[in-house]
Amino acid sequence: MTFKTLLAMVVLLTSALAQVQGTITGTVVDETGKPVAGAKVHIAQKDVLVIHQIVQYHETDDGGHFRISHVPWGTYVVVAGKESAGYPAPVFASFYSNYAMPNVTLAEDFPSADIIVKIGPKAGILDLEPVTDEATGKEIRSASVTLRRAANPDSFLSASTTQGRVFVPAFAEVLIEISAEGYKLWPSPGQAAEGKINLKPEEVRKLRVTLNQDPAVTTSEKK
């Protein structure tokens, strides 16, 4: 193989790689349009099933700008967040954000894109005290807190109550459920109003819940 042949192959290979990878740049702004420095940005290929992946974040600079290189051709959803400032993690943007998540398509004719990612409003905060067993007073560490938007109950987020503080969408009616295996759901059916909240950004609502054991489950376990 001559040097020229080798060089030609390298050029072709480099060119081929360059053709299947693009760049997404953009700016993260808050609900007032102000750039957000130190925000985390995440892209996910739209409608592509991947069983498992590490969530990769890209941080914005002081001007709120980000740049993601070597992105294969495809259509991506771009999400952002900044937990330390009250904006939930990017991967939960579809539940918290009041704004549509931008879609970006990279292809041979559109190898790069520059977008604005709007985040907000800041979330309210549900400050959960440890969930306890009504009868024994012991903490139920396996308990979950599930948040649903009242306007769209199919949109939900379920986390461990041991987190303590959980972000709640602001300016929205949210239904709270506390559950644990072997226990009755809180609030009980017919008392859903107990678990309904509507918080302003950064407003903190404390919640202390005790769960009652579910006799049916207990009986079943005894078998």
């Binding site: 739209k46 069983i51 498992h52 590490i54 991967v91 579809s94 949109s155 041991t162 987190q163």
Partner: protein, 482 residues
């Protein structure tokens, strides 16, 4: 013969015309070294310096004249039998340019200086007496004057105390302060009567101390030296002692502890006791050093490197000294070694309408600090896939510097729960080793595992180390190790 209380020896001299007859007494005492006397020679003065052997055996005295402000010396050395004397006519030595024992002469213009007399064969208890006469030919005066004898004080054993393990041989030294020169000098050869207070602990039959068993003892010796008490400098027997502590080597601490994995060319200090003079440090796998220096209570290892094959966490180190090996002591090797769950959340996947399980972890180092911004990867394997549809696969991080923890040491893992596959509840088993790729991101490859997840990924739930979600989430604070 010049000893104290004996008859005083007198030197007698007359001029050519027998006009002046002069006598000078010799010192009453004997010394190994006489120093500080002055001589003077010019047209009307001359100086005679003499010494004699008052001992019972031959010895070699040395007369040294210092001149030129002490920068130059004129040295005469001669073997004397018992009773013999040595005379030095300084005026004649200058006038006739008499060469000294090294072939040097005194410059003709030389007029004054100091002198010393030294017993070259008896460094500790000398047998020289001294006499000097200065003649004034103008007025016929004769001035006598002697140097001072030089003795010792502050006689000690070196080491002043000994601590070490059983089975060690260690040479002792005797040092004494020479009061004329103000320096500690080695007088070990004068030592005799070496002894140990407890030979079951340590023996000292000669200057070589031998440790026997754990315990305490006192080593001692005797040394006959001229005591620094001019003008007599009497012979004195000194008895310096040396506390001896024999103990098993013990490690009390390391500095630094923990030591960071991957370092090279650093030092590691081991503190403790009973290390003796040449301990052997038994290091764990992956730690090497290029050299070491030590005292009985401290070992400093130089050129220490900790390879990536070392084990992050607690490692045992021992020290062997003499015939004894210390109990193991824990030396931590620092590096990422555990994942702490921060949140376990189910929500809609990003970019897809089904549910995903997001688990966030903080990676912590062995010393409890956050492993911030470190390159990470996964060594993941799947098995037992039993869905009817083709396996969509997964994206895994490689040791290629592409993935890192964030500034808080966090990473987030995403598991899809796609209910469109059949039969319901199908999926595959998984074993996932989260790894650190070293500081460069690709060294080493494969990385060093800091957290292992075992379970399954099914269409309706995911099992991570026994926490099957839904419904059971991993409590915040749960720790997963390698």
């Amino acid at each position: 013969m010049g000893r104290s209380a004996d008859l005083v020896a007198v030197a007698v001299s007359y001029d050519k015309g027998n006009r002046y007859g002069l006598q000078t007494p010799f010192s009453e005492d004997l010394s190994r070294l006489w120093a500080g006397g002055m001589w003077h020679v010019d047209a009307t003065h001359n100086t005679f310096i003499t010494t004699g052997n008052a001992g019972s055996e031959a010895t070699a005295p040395e007369v040294t004249l210092f001149h030129n402000g002490g920068k130059s010396r004129y040295r005469m050395e001669k073997m004397l039998s018992p009773g013999q004397q040595l005379w030095l006519d300084v005026g004649r030595a200058i006038r006739d340019q008499v060469p000294d024992s090294d072939g040097h002469t005194l410059p003709p213009a030389t007029m004054t200086g100091s002198y010393e007399l030294r017993d070259l064969d008896h460094a500790t208890v000398g047998q020289l007496y001294e006499g000097k006469l200065v003649i004034d030919e103008t007025y016929g005066h004769a001035a006598y004057g002697c140097g001072s004898c030089c003795g010792y004080d502050a006689v000690v054993l070196d080491p002043s105390s000994y601590g070490g393990p059983p089975g060690i041989d260690s040479d002792d030294y005797i040092y004494a302060n020479d009061t004329c020169v103000g320096e500690q000098v080695d007088v070990t050869d004068s030592g005799y009567g070496w002894a140990s207070s407890d030979t079951a602990v340590a023996t000292l039959p000669s200057r070589t101390l031998h440790t026997v068993a754990v315990g305490s003892a006192t080593g001692s010796t005797l040394a006959k030296l001229q005591w620094a008490h001019p003008p007599s400098c009497p012979t004195q027997t000194f008895g310096p002692e040396q506390p001896v502590t024999v103990q098993k080597p013990t490690i009390t601490s390391f500095d630094p502890n923990p030591i960071m994995i991957g370092v090279s060319g650093t030092s590691l200090t081991i503190n403790g006791s009973g290390f003796g003079t040449s301990p052997t440090v038994n290091l764990p796998w992956g730690i090497n050093s290029t050299g070491q220096g030590s005292t009985d209570s401290q070992i400093v290892m130089q050129g220490v490197s900790v390879s990536f094959s070392a084990k992050i966490g607690s490692n045992n180190v021992t020290v062997t000294a003499g015939s004894q090996t210390s109990a193991p002591a824990s030396l931590g090797i620092n590096g990422p070694n555990q994942m702490v769950v921060q949140s376990d959340t189910i929500a809609t996947c990003v970019g897809a309408p089904y549910q995903c399980r997001f688990v966030s972890y903080t990676v912590e180092n062995y010393d409890g600090t956050l492993a911030a911004n470190i390159p990470i990867a996964e060594n993941i394997s799947f098995s037992g896939y039993n869905c009817q549809q083709a396996n969509p696969g997964s994206t895994t991080a490689q040791c290629n510097a592409q993935y890192t923890t964030d500034g808080g040491g966090n990473l987030t893992d995403e598991w899809a729960m796609y209910t469109g596959f059949t039969p319901a509840g199908c999926g595959e088993n998984l074993t996932d080793h989260w790894q650190w790729c070293g500081p460069t991101g690709n060294n080493p490859d494969p990385g060093i595992t800091f957290g292992t997840l075992v379970g399954y990924s099914h269409t309706a739930s995911t099992d991570i180390n026994g926490f099957i979600n839904p419904p059971n989430k991993i409590p915040t604070g749960t720790v997963f190790g390698p």
